[in-house]
Amino acid sequence: MVPQHSARSLALVCLIALVALPACSGASMKRVDPSADDELGGTLIDSADVIAATESAGDDLARVLLASSRNDLVVAFSTIKNESIQPFNTALLTDRMRNSLVRKTSPRVKYLAREHIDEILRERQGKREGVYVGKETKGLLGADFLLTGRINSLSKRFEGDRADYFQLNFQLVDAEDSTIVWTDSYEFKKVGDAGVIYQ
């Protein structure tokens, strides 16, 4: 039988070793579901919010566009304004919306890749000048609608505690008369706190 004081000493040594030794295990990797909350926490926009916001908005907008009697609608993607506290690449939202809409509504609805307009113009010029062989000439399409949006936030901080409320808003705007023809909003509020040693 191990004497009681020896067991206590062993436990103490183990505790000290656990605390004092640096992590010596190798780098680890685990693939996780991007639409689920992760273990890292944080109160800002993360992948789960991007997916939830664009899935709901993409589904709804696709339904609205397909309900139209017209078969020649043209949509351009405009910048999503970020007015929140989080430096954020809004292309994460735009690209996901585009993927969803193209998949669900093309070819009845056409989508413009305006961010590539300079390359397209160069390519057209090359074809017109005979540098490249072109099959047919077309005019550049104008958009019937602009898909745009805005991210807003409201935040509180107190002694390491934090609360962040975010709104991710999408809008479809008539590119002729500027009326808003469709909107969707995704919102969340997250609270968190700082570890005691960082307060």
Binding site: L18, V19, A20, L40, G41, G42, L44, K81, N82, E83, S84, I85, Q86, P87, F88, T90, S155, R157, F158, E159, G160, R162, G192, A194, G195, V196, I197, Y198, Q199
Partner: protein
């Protein structure tokens, strides 16, 4: 029979030594500063990158330092990568149980570096500057706004969210990005905080299409003072210019005015939990050493000797010294100036001035500016130690 409480020479000497330890110490950030002083920015950047790899718990600090070097090299995308990595690291203030226990039992710098609120704010400032210089006003505004919140994170009372520089930049970036209120609320707050700065006045702050940022001097130095170095003190670095007179050709544009006193931000940080931990460990050190010496001096058995030695060793080995790591390449102050220039390419000439307002001999440099329509062009430049001006990209 009770023995009289006495102290024998050996433990007394140890006790004396332990109690005398204290004074003042600071982390050695001089290698990085040497690169800044000598203008070897690429070598400085490589140095900080190496440091980040060698000591991952200081990665956010080293990335911030590397970011400053990259910005001085005029590599704005590179600088942004560093500041962004540090930004993400500093956003996460969670701690594991192991890290917390280790900090309580070991030295204060065994935890990951998260910086003081003023350092976290300056990380947000630099991230915003790099976004702006790359033409992304939206995310510049988001970064400055996040910096304002970081200032609110742990200070108290009147010092909360008093970083006028960040309010001003947030307002200007929102004005440039056509946000809902065109930055009016933030610019009003900046003016209330720094009414002495003429560029914050509404008639100036809400006009102009070029915003010049001039960083001067070197930021505060962090030192450990008091018993066992358990207390923090920030020392202001002397020197640095008092701003600059700005000209476009022969035409006077104006004189820069200070808005971001980094030393003041550092010294209004308020007390942190880690300060109380270090203070508690200093008391423990003294108590353990005194207790160990008393037990040894009055020991009547081998078991008492072991307890005495253990207490003495625990007292001598425990580290009560506060965390000495700090962002050394920060400026002492940030000056601003607003100008209304015609669209196109220009060269602004800066003449450094002393605190008496006189031109500093040899401290003159040019900054290229390209003014684009429909937005505010940001110009970032720094007056380095040795009265040299360094210009970075303007956009």
């Amino acid at each position: 029979m009770r023995r009289a409480l006495t102290l024998t020479p050996a433990p007394s000497l140890a006790l004396l030594l332990a109690l005398l330890v204290g004074g003042c110490a600071s982390a050695d950030r001089s290698p990085g500063l040497a690169f800044l002083r000598s203008g070897e920015f690429a070598a400085g950047r490589a140095h900080f990158e190496r440091q980040a790899v060698e000591e991952p718990r200081d990665a956010a600090l080293e990335y911030n330092e590397a970011g400053v070097m990259a910005l001085l090299e005029n590599d704005v995308p590179g600088a942004q990568r560093y500041f962004r990595m540090a930004f993400d690291d500093l956003e996460d203030l969670s701690s594991t149980t192991g890290e917390t226990v280790k900090t309580f039992l070991g030295s204060a710098d065994s935890r990951r570096w998260k910086g003081e609120p003023y350092e976290r704010c300056m990380n947000a400032y630099y991230l915003g500057v790099t976004y702006w210089l790359r033409g992304d006003d939206d995310n510049a505004a988001a970064s400055f706004k996040s910096g304002v919140l970081r200032d609110a994170d742990s200070e108290e009372g009147a010092a909360q969210s008093d970083f006028a520089l960040l309010w001003f930049l947030m307002g200007q970036a929102q004005r440039s990005a056509f946000h809902s209120d065109r930055g009016q609320a933030a610019l009003k707050q900046a003016h209330e905080l720094r009414p002495d700065n003429p560029w914050t006045a509404p008639e100036k702050a809400e006009t102009g299409n070029v915003l010049l940022l001039l960083e001067t001097g070197l930021g505060p130095k962090r030192e450990a003072v008091g018993r066992h170095g358990a207390d923090v003190r920030f020392r202001k670095n002397p020197g640095g210019s008092a701003g600059a007179i700005v000209r476009l050709g022969e035409t006077l544009v104006g004189r820069t005015a200070p808005i971001g006193d980094i030393y003041k931000q550092a010294t209004t940080r308020g007390e942190k939990v880690i300060d109380r931990i270090s203070g508690g460990k200093a008391v423990f050190k003294d108590a353990a050493v005194i207790g160990g010496a008393v037990v040894l001096a009055n020991s009547g058995s081998g078991r008492s000797d072991v307890i005495g030695v253990a207490l003495l060793a625990a007292g001598l080995l425990a580290s009560a010294q506060t965390d000495l790591r700090y962002w050394a390449t920060l400026p002492d102050d940030v000056h601003i100036l607003l100008a209304d220039l015609p669209e196109g390419a220009h060269r602004l000439s800066l003449q450094g001035i002393s605190v008496t307002g006189n031109p500093i001999q040899g401290m003159r440099w040019d900054v290229p500016v390209v003014v684009h329509p429909g937005r505010i062009t940001l110009v970032w430049t720094r007056a380095l130690p040795g009265n040299r001006g360094v210009a970075a990209a303007a956009r």
